[in-house]
C-alpha cells in the first residue's frame, strides 16, 4: 500500500502531464453526453489503482494502461445499456432539433471508420501531426491524406 501523500503526489504528477490526453481519450471514446462520465471513471480507476503502483512501469504507461482498460469497461457497459434500450423500444420517436456543433460532430464522426474517427477528433483537438502519429502509430504522410479525405467527405455532406 502506497503512502497517502505519495499517492496524491503521483496522481497530481500524472494528471499534470496527461490532463490534455485525458480529455482526448474521453472525447474519442464516448458520446458527447458521456465525456465527463468517462473522464471521471478514468480518474477514479487511476486513483484506486495507484495503491498498487509498484514502479514496475513508468507512471505514464501505468496511467495509459488504466485509461485504456477503463475505456474498454465503459464501452462494454454502454453497449449493454444501448442494447437494453433498443430491446425496450425498437422504434424510438426522434424529435427534430436544430443541429448544433456537437451533434454535427458526433453524426459525422459516426459515419467514419474507427481510425478516421480518432484522427478526426484529434484534428479537432488541434493535435499536431507528430502527436497524432505517436498516439495512433500511423505515419504523418498517411495522416495528412486521411485528414484531407475527411475534409472532402465533410464538405460533400454539410456544404450548402
Amino acid at each position: 500500500m502506497i503512502d497517502p501523500r505519495e499517492k496524491e503526489r503521483l496522481f497530481e504528477k500524472a494528471i499534470a502531464k496527461n490532463n490534455h490526453w485525458l480529455g482526448v481519450i474521453a472525447r474519442n471514446n464516448a458520446p458527447i453526453d458521456d465525456w465527463e462520465d468517462l473522464e471521471q471513471e478514468i480518474l477514479i480507476a487511476f486513483w484506486k489503482s495507484l495503491d498498487s503502483y509498484g514502479e514496475r512501469s513508468s507512471l505514464e504507461t501505468f496511467f495509459f494502461s488504466v485509461a485504456k482498460n477503463t475505456v474498454k469497461k465503459f464501452i462494454d457497459k454502454n453497449n449493454k445499456t444501448k442494447k437494453r434500450d433498443e430491446a425496450v423500444d425498437p422504434n424510438p420517436v426522434f424529435v427534430e432539433q436544430d443541429p448544433d456543433v456537437l451533434s454535427i460532430l458526433e453524426e459525422f464522426a459516426g459515419m467514419l471508420g474507427e481510425l478516421d474517427r480518432q484522427v478526426f477528433k484529434m484534428y479537432l483537438d488541434c493535435l499536431s501531426y507528430a502527436e497524432m502519429s505517436a498516439a495512433l502509430g500511423v505515419d504523418e504522410v498517411n495522416l495528412r491524406k486521411r485528414i484531407s479525405r475527411i475534409k472532402e467527405q465533410f464538405k460533400a455532406r454539410y456544404r450548402g
Partner: protein, 196 residues
C-alpha cells in the same frame, strides 16, 4: 459548414469548459472515490442487515414442539436464504478487486471471470437455493395442517414466485450478463487471432 468552421466552434465549446488544475482534480477524484466507497459499504450494510432481519424472523417462527415436516421445511428455507445471502455478499467483495493496469488481454480475462462468476451465482441461487427454499416453504406450511384450499393457494403462490424468479434470472442473463460476455469473448478471440 466548412470543417475549419466546425473546428473553431468546437474549440469554443471546449473553452467554455476549461480544464481544472491537477490539484483540484485530485481533490475532486479523492472525494468521489471516498463517496463511492461509502455508498458501497452502506449498500452492503443494508443488504446484510435486511438479510439478517429475514433470517431472525424465520428463526422466531421455529417451534421445537412443532410438527416435524414444518420444522424441516423452515430449516431448509432458512439454510437456503442464508446461503444465498452469503454467496452474494462474498461475490460482491470479490468482484470489487479490479486491476485496470494489467495488459489489455489479461484485464479482459479478469472481466470475463467476474461476469462468469456472476452468472454462476445467479444460476446457483435459482437452481439450488431458491427452488428448494420454495419447497421448504410448502413443507413448512403443509406441516402446519392448513385446509386443503389454503394449501392449494400456497402451492400456486410458490409456483408463481418460482416462475417469476426464473423469468427474472433468464431476463438478467439475456439483457445484462450474456451480451457483455459475448463482447469480451469476441475481443479475446481477436487477440488470439492477432497473436497467431
Amino acid at each position: 459548414m466548412e470543417l475549419e468552421e466546425l473546428k473553431a466552434l468546437y474549440q469554443q465549446a471546449k473553452a467554455a469548459h476549461p480544464r481544472k488544475d491537477p490539484h483540484a482534480i485530485m481533490l475532486e477524484t479523492k472525494r468521489k472515490a471516498e463517496e463511492r466507497e461509502r455508498d458501497f459499504k452502506r449498500q452492503q450494510r443494508t443488504q446484510i442487515l435486511c438479510g439478517l432481519f429475514c433470517l431472525v424472523c424465520m428463526a422466531t417462527w421455529y417451534r421445537r414442539e412443532g410438527p416435524l415436516l414444518a420444522n424441516a421445511g423452515l430449516i431448509l428455507m432458512f439454510l437456503c436464504l442464508a446461503a444465498m445471502l452469503a454467496g452474494s455478499i462474498i461475490l460482491k467483495y470479490r468482484l470489487r478487486e479490479s486491476h485496470p493496469w494489467l495488459p489489455e488481454e489479461e484485464f479482459l480475462a479478469e472481466q470475463r471471470k467476474k461476469i462468469a462468476a456472476r452468472i454462476a451465482l445467479l444460476r446457483r441461487n435459482v437452481r439450488w437455493f431458491f427452488i428448494p427454499s420454495m419447497l421448504g416453504f410448502l413443507a413448512w406450511q403443509a406441516g402446519l395442517s392448513h385446509s386443503a384450499q389454503m394449501v392449494a393457494a400456497l402451492v400456486v403462490a410458490a409456483g408463481l414466485a418460482s416462475a417469476g424468479t426464473f423469468w427474472f434470472y433468464r431476463w438478467k442473463l439475456r439483457t445484462d450478463l450474456l451480451p457483455i460476455l459475448e463482447d469480451i469473448d469476441r475481443e479475446l478471440e481477436s487477440f488470439r487471432n492477432k497473436s497467431k
